[in-house]
């Protein structure tokens, strides 16, 4: 349809080995445009994280994914099946909910950042060191030399997540997959990380797929929103359309559970809410 599509998910299904079990993700078809942030919303168990992982072939072993992931290298290039091995860590990077779990606790930050640069970019010595410092500066770290020498446990949650974002950006990806990157953070830190991601989206022309259960977070960052429930896509549209004028009853329930909506007096109907 549009020439600006960066990534197309075509009928992605994720199943357990047992064919009688229902699919965990059921035939999801979605486009991600170059430079946009697509918000993927759903509750725990909706399949949003699995769908995100399937993009770079990280679906955990007993599960199997079917369907096609198509990718357009440069603007205007046709959509071709993605070579996930090559794309992983080069064209597509991912950040996770708990930065502490993704960082090696026994290695300094500089080591974590050096690895992809050495492997994917072939940098060494001074050039490598300079690149590490500039990456840390890019993610809004004021004191990059000190942070580069630090161990992960010496950093706050917000700083750890910034380091993870720096590592994810080290290979200049076109697409950043974000799996609830702010859920484990305080509201104030969350707001700063969201601002950083928005800034990076704008300055680098980065595309984001941002997974969250929180529509309020999604509305701060996403250009478009896709709502997922029980592995099925329910609604896709611009953030404004989906959140201010939800059409599917499930989306309406999600919108009504946003805390600011609760205090506005529109309490959820207990018969409709989930246990």
């Amino acid at each position: 349809m549009s020439a600006d599509v960066l990534l197309r998910l075509d009928g992605i299904s994720i199943r357990l080995p047992d064919p009688h079990e229902p699919a965990l993700v059921d035939g999801v078809t979605l486009d991600v445009a170059r430079g946009e942030c697509l918000g993927l919303v759903g509750e725990s168990g909706s399949g949003k994280s699995l769908l995100l992982r399937s993009i770079i072939g990280l679906v955990p072993p007993p599960l199997s994914a079917a369907g096609e992931v198509l990718w357009s290298d440069v603007p205007g290039a046709p959509l071709l099946a993605m070579d996930r091995r090559a794309a992983r860590g080069r064209d597509v990077s991912m950040i996770f909910q708990e930065p502490m779990r993704s960082l090696n606790p026994s290695k300094r930050v500089s080591w974590t950042l050096a690895e992809p640069l050495r492997m994917r970019r072939g940098l060494h010595g001074v050039a490598l060191r300079e690149r590490i410092i500039s990456l840390l500066e890019d993610v809004g770290i004021d004191d990059p030399h000190r942070i580069a020498r630090s161990y992960p446990h010496e950093l706050s949650g917000g700083l750890q997540q910034r380091v993870m974002i720096a590592a994810a950006l080290s290979t200049d990806p076109d697409l950043l997959l974000c799996d609830e990157p702010t859920t484990a953070l305080d509201v104030t830190t969350q707001a700063r990380i969201i601002d950083l991601l928005k800034e990076l989206q704008r300055s680098r022309g980065l595309s984001l797929v941002f997974v969250s259960h929180d529509l309020a977070v999604i509305s701060e960052i996403a250009d478009r929103v896709a709502v997922l429930n029980g592995g099925t896509l329910l609604e896709v549209g611009t953030a404004r359309e989906v959140i201010l004028d939800p059409r599917h009853s499930y989306t309406r329930m999600l919108v009504s559970s946003i805390p600011e909506q609760l205090s506005a007096g529109t309490t959820t109907d207990p018969t409709e809410a989930h246990p």
Partner: protein, 278 residues
């Protein structure tokens, strides 16, 4: 005005008291009153001292200042009977339940002192689990078989089993999905109305506090920077830090603000909604 819980000048200092060494208190000068059936919120970032305050209130930490319940001063250490009257619910329901004890037994354990026969204990446990609206088929389930929201319901039932007068919810909904959070908040509101229990609700999210509480304390670096009616604090914050905290809360209001986002370069495929079966 007879308050259910009256806290005056509460302070907590970590570390051993040594001669000639002054340790700055972690929390200092917290005062508030809570009446029966009411809820008061404590908001702040990590490290602001809100959980330390909660632990001191239940008597898990030594503190300075006074805590009065029903007009009577609570001493330290507290007796079993005094501990019974203030209960706490924690952030992570998985770590507050023993994974090798079924839900109904977990609640029955707490009832030992007041019900002599197992039959009575079981009946009371079922009542409590029903009150927190756990589906009946899950009464005998293992904690691992429950969702996060259901586990938090069991943790609340356990806290209610001692018939406390005050319930302290320390980030009780922070680990849950937003939609599940809404149902737990509703449960807490309903329990307040039906049992007259007072709730101290601790969170880093002011909008969540606004959804349940009438009063709020905003804490930073161990001191209360602002205190008052939640609507007043939310709509007209006096403190700079409170304003910062409110601005940080993600909000769908950004969508209705008039400034147009530059989407000129972005293709916007048409909206799509799955047809619902009636």
């Amino acid at each position: 005005m007879n308050a259910l819980l009256r806290v005056t000048d509460l302070s907590v200092t970590y570390g051993r008291v040594r001669r000639g060494v002054t340790v700055a208190p972690t929390v200092c000068g917290v005062s508030f009153e809570l009446s029966a059936g009411a809820a008061i919120g404590i908001v702040g970032e990590s490290g602001s001292g809100k959980s330390t305050t909660a632990r001191a209130l239940v008597g898990l930490l030594p503190y300075g200042g006074t805590v009065e319940l029903d007009g009577a001063l609570l001493p330290l250490p507290r007796s079993r009977e005094q501990r019974r009257r203030i209960q706490m619910v924690f952030q992570d329901p998985t770590s507050s339940l023993n994974p090798s004890i079924r839900c109904d037994r977990a609640v029955m354990q707490v009832l030992g002192a007041r019900f002599s026969t197992a039959e009575d204990r079981r009946r009371r446990a079922y009542e409590l689990l029903e009150r927190v609206r756990l589906p009946g088929r899950l009464f005998g389930a293992w904690p691992s078989e429950l969702s996060g929201g259901q586990r938090q319901r069991v943790a609340i039932a356990r806290a209610l089993a001692t018939e406390p007068q005050v319930l302290i919810a320390d980030e009780a909904t922070s680990a849950l999905d937003v939609s599940v959070q809404a149902t737990i908040l509703e449960l807490l509101n309903e329990l307040r109305a039906s049992t007259g229990i007072g709730v101290v609700f601790i969170s880093h999210d002011l909008t969540v506090v606004r959804a349940t509480c009438s009063q709020v304390l905003v804490m930073r670096h161990g001191v209360v920077v602002e205190q008052g009616d939640v609507e007043r604090v939310y709509t007209a914050p006096r403190d700079e830090y409170t304003r910062e905290l409110i601005a940080a809360v993600p909000s769908i209001r950004v969508l209705s603000q008039t400034h147009e986002v530059d989407t000129g370069a972005l293709p916007t495929p048409p909206r799509w909604v799955l047809a619902e079966s009636a």
